[in-house]
Amino acid sequence: MIRKIMHRPQAVLGLAMMLLVFLVMLLAPVFAPNDPMQLNVAHSFAPPDAQYPLGTDELGRCILSRLIYGARASLSIALPTLLLLAVISTVVATLCAYVGGALDRMFEVVSNIFMAFPPFLVAITLVGLFESKAASIVLSIVIAMWVWNARVVRTHVLRERNQPYVITCRMSGCSELRIVFRHIIPNILPHLLVLYSTGLSSIIIMISSYAFLGLGLETGTAEWGAMFVNANKLIFSHPLFLVYPGLCILFAAAGFNLFGEALRDICAPREG
């Protein structure tokens, strides 16, 4: 497996990008030249110089430092969200689609209900319910998005459960649970990897739109989405403010997508 990854430039590039993002995330205090929260209104909109490599924003905060710390804030929410989302939608959709019948029809009804809920409504409710803003953001995104992923998973499982190999596995003595977790899920995993790795960027964007509504993390938190949204109003005077966080989101998302797609190609013998 590792050898196969190393033989694919796409996978290596994606992996390198992901590792770089993680490295920046873990070692933010080492890389950042300044305190990302340090206000210096007298020094606002400063052009890049030795102390502030990318200049300062409208409140005189170091942009580079904010971007570096932003990796922490964005991904520390986006990754757990993605993980929770992936596990919940995969398990629920797979079980419902595999068992079929009444359970599958129930899933249809429930998923229609969830699809009707606007995510922001859920977010507003949850922010009111929970102390922790991060937890309510994670939960509201999971509640809002799991159905969309689950539906995709369901179609894959429906196709797979009618394959003749399922019968063969049963005759080899597999229990139904073993068929689901050891045979069906590994076979649709390549598709799921792409589904979830592309989901990361939309989660980052979603977190940022929460910030826009004031539902996100504390105002002023160094976070890519918030910086991106914040820069909207400066688009004509300082368009680069929009480009920096945008590039960061692009970089992280592209890394995950590249790696996810390369993994799909490696794991999918049938589509070759």
């Binding site: 003749p164 019968i167 063969t168 005759m171 080899s172 003595g173 073993r178 045979h183 590994p186 049938r270």
Partner: protein
Amino acid sequence: MLKAEHITKQYQIPGGGHTVFDAVSDVSIELGNGGVTAIVGESGSGKSTLARVLSYVERPDGGRVFLDGLEVSACGRKELRAVRGKVQLVMQNALGSLDPHQSVVSILEEPLRLLFHMGAEKRKQRCLELLDMARLERDTLRRRPDELSGGQQKRLCIARALATQPQHIIFDESFSGLDVTLKKQVLGFLKELQTELQISFLVITHDLDTAMYMADAIHVMRRGKIIETLEHPKSFSDFQEPYSQELVKAVRSKRRALQ
């Protein structure tokens, strides 16, 4: 001994509302231990459905299936799993009936672990035995099904079925789609295997030639019913029913075309 009594299996006609048709209607069949039986019929005659019912992959809508006196058609999931290995179905689509992400060794080891709880050492040894039995090369162990040739895929399916130490193996059109030489090879090898292991075979085919070559008893099936049964047929002229005669004619014209 695998015995089916008055089996009926219905399917809903797609788009036909609640109209059903009998894929198999009131079929009784008995498979002793050790012989080779064949069911011959054209496509749509219900022979595959019967195979699925006999291998308890599907439940019949009417009638009962017995395995050594145990009524498998009335068993729950748990009880069925205990006798899963006894009757094996080898399907037509060899590649499709193998999990594409598993390697040959894990396909063969799965039944050994799940049905016989063998340790790693024993499994490895048994795997090699199975490969030899199915005349597969030992270097195929690490490969995936789609990296094997068509003939190797068939052999792998047979090896997997043998891994469960079955009393009965049902071959559902397992040899159609193979070219003439390959088919001869596989059939010949199966016949040897059968004499060696004394497993009962049920060969389901549309080809009377294959049936005559393999089987001691031949059932002719049409529209969900068994219309003629011959024990130890000597030649094609033993068949009496007009429909069986049609099948004989089909074989003869194919032979002529080959010559």
